[in-house]
């Protein structure tokens, strides 16, 4: 086999070292039989192996070697003391490691809490509160049951007594029917009270099971408002219930009718109604309805169907204590009255004493009546719940009318401000009132005037157009504001009225007006001064004025005159034509400022022309000719060279540090390499 032959060394070594598998060994031996070279190598190899074994066995460490190593190790790494070792051993256990990590984390959390100032006792205190709440709740659940069980018998009796009294005195129209209800309700809780420890919903269910249709309706209510479930239980307490409801409805009368119907359905009645008509024709009002307390909830439910509910409040006032106090005092007073009457009947004693008794009797009777009145009032209040319904028709806020306010701003230009000012003042009449007029003249002779005028709406258009005609209008602004009255928002029916027009007028001199068109041009001529004068006469011929002019002459003999003219637009073109006679017209530029939207009398609008009249000087400059050119060339090239030198300097400054750094690095690397080479 060629592979074995080629790798004979490896095979032989593996053979003597016993690393060959059975198959490999037989393959090798087969090859050795065939190949003489390999056989020889094999022989040699075996000898070599033996020599190596013998020689290296001498070098082998002695049997005590391990012991020496151990002793040396122990000598150099001393054992830890008992406790430290125990700790280290403990730390080797996984659970201990986990616990330690957890402890460290916890400690960190605690430290964090201390640092942030958070209180670490929050969880415990929350638990505490929960417990406390729980304990508080329990008695409160039990107490009403017990309290009622004890208190009911008595109060029930009393209530029965009172109602009997009342029914004798003043039975209201719907009373008999509802009264029996009332009693039923009052007794029912008493039967329930024994198992009253059961939760409230259960109690409600029990009520429901004692199946009378009236009660079924109550259960409905109880379900809607679980908190009110105890209301029937407390029915014999003296509770005054009242409610206020705010509704937005479409029609007041309609709503009132329906409320009356509802009240009748629920055996109640409408006590008072009031309504009020707003400026915009909408109605707002209040209806007070009395209904039986136990039907209050259903009544309110019905009310909601009338319109949009804006607000609802339900209140209960407990007058039990005051009621029974008064009741007891009333009884006492009756006994007193009886005694006094008895005293009068026996008629013993002096007349003065009898008079005294009579007087006392009167006082007692008065008291009794007052107390009876109180009780009666309370009874009526308790008997019926008061529902105050506030009604407002939709779109209450709709405005009743609109007012159009107009405010104007008019700016005029006039050649003679004072004249126009006086003319405007002359317009004053009862329908055109001048509220403010002012004429200003400053130190430079400029005059301006301001006026404020109030104009009756029917006159306003005529007056404004007359004022406009007085001068040139620079600016006219009109601002209209629509103000809603008696409300806000939009309305389809409200009328719109025009208010007085307020007009502010400003009059200023024409001079200050900005030119409609500005032209600038140059005229080249030989005699500047003369032409400038000519120009002046030309301008005056066309109705223009020279506003400003300058003249100067420079050392080279050049002359320059600047003239600013203002002409009316209608004469502008004629003037421009005539300018051609003065000399060569150059560089004409025209700038027009169109004021869009404003109607301007274009013909008389001012146009400004600025004219530069100049002459070419006739002295040749010394900056020309061969020498000058040469000199210029030289200076420029010298400048160019200097510039490039500077640039090179900048480049060098830019690159030098890098070059130095690179050279230094290369040098250091070379040095290190050299040293290494010499070392090895």
């Amino acid at each position: 086999m060629a592979t074995i032959h080629n790798e004979i060394d490896d095979w032989l070594a593996a053979d003597v070292h016993g690393d060959l598998s059975k198959d490999e060994r037989s393959a090798l031996h087969a090859h050795l039989v065939e190949c003489a070279t390999c056989r020889k190598a094999n022989e040699e190899n075996k000898v070599m192996n033996k020599i190596l074994e013998e020689t290296l066995a001498q070098e082998k460490p002695d049997p005590a070697f391990e012991q020496r190593m151990l002793a040396g190790f122990r000598g150099r790494i001393p054992q830890r003391s008992g406790l430290a070792r125990l700790l280290v051993d403990l730390m080797r256990l996984r659970p201990v490691q986990i616990t330690a990590v957890a402890a460290i984390l916890l400690a960190l959390v605690q430290v964090g809490r201390v640092i942030t100032g958070e209180r670490s006792t929050i969880p415990r205190s929350r638990e505490y509160y929960a417990n406390e709440k729980f304990f508080r709740q329990q008695p409160s659940q039990v107490a009403p049951g017990i309290g009622l069980a004890g208190g009911l018998d008595k109060s029930d009796e009393l209530a029965a007594g009172r109602s009997r009294d009342l029914s004798l005195q003043a039975p209201p129209p719907s009373l008999p029917a509802s009264r029996s209800d009332f009693h039923e309700n009052a007794k029912m809780p008493a039967t329930i009270v024994a198992p009253a420890k059961a939760a409230q919903p259960e109690a409600a269910e029990m009520l429901g099971r004692s199946a009378s249709p009236e009660n079924l309706a109550r259960v409905e209510v109880a379900e809607q408002k679980p908190a009110d479930a105890s209301a029937p239980v407390l029915a014999n307490r003296k509770l005054i219930r009242n409610a206020t409801v705010q509704l937005e409805i479409v029609s007041f009368d309609d709503a009132l009718q329906r409320i009356t119907a509802f009240a009748n359905e629920e055996h109640g009645y409408v006590a008072t109604t009031s309504s009020e008509k707003q400026a915009n024709g909408k109605l707002r009002g209040e209806v007070v309805v009395k209904v039986l307390p136990e039907k209050l909830d259903r009544f309110l439910q019905k009310l909601r169907g009338l319109g949009e509910l804006k607000n609802q409040t339900l209140g209960t006032e407990d007058v039990t204590k005051g009621y029974f106090d008064t009741d007891a005092r009333l009884k006492n007073a009756r006994v007193m009255e009886q005694r006094l009457i008895d005293m009068l009947k026996t008629r013993t004693g002096k007349v003065a004493d009898l008079l005294q008794v009579e007087k006392e009797l009167g006082r007692v009777r008065e008291e009794i009546e007052k107390m009876q009145g109180d009780l009666q009032y309370w009874d009526s209040q308790v008997q019926f719940a008061t529902v105050t319904v506030s009604l407002a028709e939709k779109d209450m806020e709709e405005p009743a009318a609109f007012l159009l306010k107009e405010r104007g701003q008019l700016s005029l230009y006039a050649p003679d401000v004072e004249k126009i000012y006086n003319e405007a003042k002359a317009l004053a009449s009862p329908k055109v009132q001048i509220t403010n007029a002012q004429l200003n003249r400053d130190y430079s002779g400029r005059v301006s005037a301001t006026m404020s005028v109030l104009i009756a709406p029917e006159e306003s258009d005529a007056v404004i157009s007359r004022v406009k005609g007085l001068g040139r209008v620079e600016n006219f602004q009109m601002q209209t504001q629509r103000i809603a009255q008696g409300g806000n928002g939009m309305s389809e029916n409200a009328k719109t009225k025009r208010d007085k027009v307020e007009l502010n007028i400003t009059i200023s001199r024409e001079e200050q007006e900005q030119a409609l068109q500005q032209t600038s041009l140059r005229i080249r001529t030989s005699a500047v001064d003369e032409k400038a004068k000519e120009l002046r006469t030309l301008a005056e011929k066309q109705g223009g004025r020279v506003r400003n002019s300058t003249f100067n002459r420079d050392p080279d003999g050049r002359e320059l005159a600047n003239v600013w003219l203002r002409v009316p637009m209608k004469n502008y073109f004629a003037l421009m034509q005539s300018l051609n006679s003065l000399g060569k017209v150059e560089n004409v530029s025209v700038q027009r400022q169109d004021r869009t939207g404003t109607q301007i009398d274009e013909a008389s609008a001012p146009a400004d022309i600025s004219i530069q009249v100049y002459s070419q000087g006739n002295i040749i400059s010394h900056e020309s000719g061969l020498l000058a050119t040469l000199r210029r060339t030289l200076t420029q090239s010298a400048g160019a060279i200097m510039w490039s030198l500077r640039m090179i300097g900048v480049a060098v400054a830019f690159l030098a540090p890098w070059a130095i750094a690179i050279v230094a690095v290369v040098w250091i690397v070379r040095r290190i390499a050299q040293k290494r080479r010499s070392k090895s």
């Binding site: 190596l52 460490p61 391990e66 190593m69 151990l70």
Partner: protein
């Protein structure tokens, strides 16, 4: 490597002194062989093993995989031996080694001498493999593990090492026969 061995390495890495001492017992000869293969000197090799063990104990936490613990030990020992070797090279050879050549020697001693010279001429890895094999009579598997070699590579190394020695010592062998 079975699980009990692995567990031992793990315990040693985690600082179990007894486990480490057990490893000293089982592995110090291997380490010695490696050190010897580099230094060719028993005293120095022993010192190297001692140093390497102490160093290994102090830096045991560097080993992540317990299975690689023996190979890592070998590496520590090898580095230590190299350090010693480099220091020794700095000072010149002691003169007596030259002298021994000059003295009268027997045949076997001559062979011994030649063998050592031949061994010194071998590449370090070859020498390490040879020493592991002949000192401890370790099987190929263990040597592979210790030196981090594959089976084929180890076979090649040992084959070449033996062949090289054989060729170098051929004349001496002939005289011995």
């Amino acid at each position: 490597m079975d699980s009990s061995e692995r567990e031992q390495y793990r315990a040693a890495i985690h600082g179990d002194r007894e486990a480490f001492e057990m490893i000293i017992r089982t592995h110090s000869r291997t380490l010695f062989a490696i050190a010897y293969s580099i230094l060719q000197n028993r005293e120095e090799a022993e010192d190297v093993v001692q140093d390497a063990l102490v160093r290994a104990w102090k830096t045991r936490w560097r080993v992540r995989d317990p299975a690689k613990f023996p190979a890592w030990l070998a590496t520590v020992a090898r580095h230590r031996a190299h350090d010693i070797f480099r220091k020794r090279r700095a000072v010149p050879f002691p003169p007596e080694t030259i002298e021994t050549n000059e003295t009268e020697i027997t045949n076997t001693e001559a062979v011994d001498q030649q063998l050592h010279t031949a061994l010194a001429a071998l590449p370090e890895l070859h020498r390490a493999a040879l020493t592991l094999r002949y000192f401890e009579e370790l099987d190929y598997r263990t040597i592979e593990n210790t030196l981090g070699l594959s089976n084929g590579a180890l076979r090649g190394i040992l084959g070449r090492a033996l062949a090289a020695l054989r060729k170098q010592l051929r004349p001496a062998l002939a005289s011995l026969e």
